[in-house]
């Protein structure tokens, strides 16, 4: 399409991205106007929000400034479960054009709905995400997010099509075929979960395929699970691609709540659609920019399922410094921890990402690992199983025992816990084709 040729020119102005650069005063005006609308909608049409606002004595008319959002009641994942399936919908089902649902790994699935306008907004924020990460219509993009009830696959798909990139809707799984498609189709960019891509790097290696030499993939958009800076470095060193963080959650819209720009220093939040707050997860009080706490969102344009002060459980901070890219929409720090990933052992809070960074610090590459929690004679035990690779293997029992000790010491430095590290065979820890499973908690099954 001739009218879209501007999209070929890297580094030039993209109309879709204009909203990312809106003057801050204008952005706050838009936010306030939309906040008023969404709070009215939620109050009028969703019993749960109305009851909670009434209980606090807040009426929609009481929202006069953006700071008034702090007076609104919170909502959380359990609210979606308790009102399963449609209890938080604010429009008649005839207006709902799409449903998505969570995998339900942590209990009953949660359902989210979209009106036609919601779908349009979702598509736009994904286009803005792709543009900020440098994707263009000339890219051939392999979308490895699962297609189906999960928001990742179809969400990215719609955005990629709107960008007029060439979409390869590979979905998740069938790793050897993924590599074959990348090679045969000349794929230049990918989307997927970071843990699955780490697995693909391994598969490519086994197939004798070198990412730099044999493939054209230059960039990847990764999300749907927390991933550390160490993992980014590993991905980039091992495959030669540039890895960008796309942030999102189904309850808010799916992927595209925020995305990293060329500077790759934390995702910019599309603030014209998502009002962002950081709160202290204990006191629930709002925290200033720069301070770490729980990320909370209020959707500003959602129709089918507005979210009011939704607690994400993700731990991060709003970055107070402006980004060199010039976007006025603010960034959050990359999310490496979720408060519900956290487990408590011997009274110490531990996040899987801490174990990950400890392992990376020891080996400079990311081994496959699994944290196993058990209970023996009433005492919690934590074991970290680490897969040995040919590169890590040394022909000395002593050297291997040293490696084991270095892992344990590094974990102790990060967590303060002395734990058992077991070296296991390659491939003995199950690989995920979606979100990685890092913790096996068997404490309920063996009291």
């Amino acid at each position: 399409m001739i009218s879209r040729l501007w999209n070929d020119l890297e580094g030039t102005f993209f109309p879709e991205s204009a909203l990312d650069f809106m003057p801050v005063e204008r952005l706050r005006e838009v936010q306030l106007q939309r906040l008023k609308t969404v709070v009215s909608l939620a109050y009028e049409r969703v019993a749960l929000f109305r009851e909670r606002m009434d209980a606090r004595g807040i009426k929609p008319a009481g929202i006069r400034s953006l700071d008034d959002v702090h007076r609104l009641p919170f909502s959380m994942k359990s609210d979606l479960r308790d009102t399963y399936p449609y209890g938080l919908f604010a429009v008649p089902m005839a207006e709902v054009v799409r449903l998505h649902a969570s995998s339900g790994t942590t209990g009953k699935p949660i359902v989210v709905g979209y009106t036609a306008q919601d779908m349009e907004v979702w598509k736009q924020v994904i286009v803005r995400s792709l543009l900020s990460a440098g994707y263009t219509r000339s890219d051939i993009v392999q979308n490895m997010y699962g297609y189906g009830l999960f928001t990742g696959g179809l969400g990215l798909h719609a955005g990629l099509e709107a960008l007029e990139a060439t979409v390869v809707p590979a979905s998740g799984g069938n790793s050897e075929r993924q590599i074959m498609l990348m090679k045969d189709f000349g794929v230049t960019a990918i989307c997927g979960t970071p843990s699955y891509f780490v697995h693909l790097i391994e598969v490519a290696h086994d197939l004798g395929i070198d990412f730099r030499r044999d493939l054209k993939v230059k960039r990847g958009l990764f999300g749907a699970e927390p991933w550390s800076d160490g993992m980014r470095k590993y991905i980039e060193d091992a495959s030669g691609i540039k890895a960008y963080d796309i942030y999102g959650l189904s309850e808010i819209v799916g992927p595209g709540v925020g995305c990293e720009c060329e500077c790759r220093n934390g995702p910019h939040i599309f603030e014209d659609h998502f009002l962002v707050e950081i709160i202290d997860p204990e006191t629930l009080e709002p925290l200033p920019d720069g301070q770490e706490g729980e990320l909370v969102f209020t959707t500003l344009s959602k129709q089918a399922m507005p979210a009011i002060r939704y607690r994400t459980r993700d731990i991060t901070a709003i970055e107070p410094r402006p980004c060199p890219c010039g976007r006025t929409i603010r960034r959050i720090r990359r999310i490496c921890r979720r408060s519900d990933d956290m487990f408590i052992i011997h009274g110490v809070n531990v996040f899987p990402s801490q174990i990950e960074s400890a392992l990376l610090r020891t080996e400079a590459s990311l081994p496959h690992y699994l944290i196993v929690l058990t209970r023996r004679s009433g005492l919690d035990q934590m074991e970290v199983r680490v897969e040995i690779t040919g590169e890590m293997l040394r022909d000395r029992v002593g050297a291997m025992e040293q490696l084991q000790k270095r892992f344990a010491r590094s974990i102790e430095q990060v967590t303060g816990l002395h734990i058992a590290v077991t070296l296991v065979q390659p491939g003995s820890i199950a690989r995920s084709e979606g979100k990685a499973r890092r913790v096996l908690d068997q404490r309920d099954t063996n009291p």
Binding site: I388, T389, G390, M392, L393, R394, D395, R396, V397, M400, E401, Q404, T422, L423, V424, Q425, P426, G427, S428
Partner: protein, 147 residues
């Protein structure tokens, strides 16, 4: 000359050793010598074969972590004092033996597979002392019975 030794990481779990041996057997790989060391939670299997490259690929494909290293195969007379004489020769060189394992050749000689801390210096010292070191090519005839 140096000989390539294959080392395999074995998780201390039932059936791992036999799975490894099955993969070697399936590929028709003949072993000259092997040793299994045990570190409690895991084991390290080391072996010598005439086909180290193929053996490494086979074992890797079977899902094991594998590495290779250079060792020396000292050919010694199979009689009291055979090893002692060689070690005495080496003493002034200050070389360290990391580990050893042995097998008997059909010729009647003994072969000590030896891992030194400094394989190149050890090789030079042994050659200067007139000790016969097996070459990779010597290994192909080691496994099979003579006809």
């Amino acid at each position: 000359m140096k000989i390539r030794q294959i080392s395999v990481f074995l998780e201390n779990q039932h059936g791992r050793l036999s799975a490894l041996c099955r993969s070697l057997a399936g590929a028709g790989i003949d072993l000259c010598a092997l040793t299994l060391s045990d570190a409690g939670e895991f084991g390290l299997l080391r072996f010598i074969t005439a086909e180290p490259d193929r053996a490494k690929r086979v074992v890797e494909a079977a899902g094991f972590a594998v590495t290779s290293s250079d060792v020396l195969a000292l050919c010694l007379p199979n009689r009291p004092g055979g090893l002692s004489a060689v070690l005495t020769e080496l003493e002034p060189h200050g070389l360290s033996v990391e580990y050893m394992y042995a097998y008997a050749r059909r010729t009647g000689d003994a072969v000590m597979i030896t891992c030194f801390d400094d394989v190149d210096r050890a090789m030079a010292a042994l050659e200067a002392a007139g000790v016969t070191l097996l070459k990779p090519a010597d290994l192909s005839a080691e496994g099979r019975p003579s006809v």
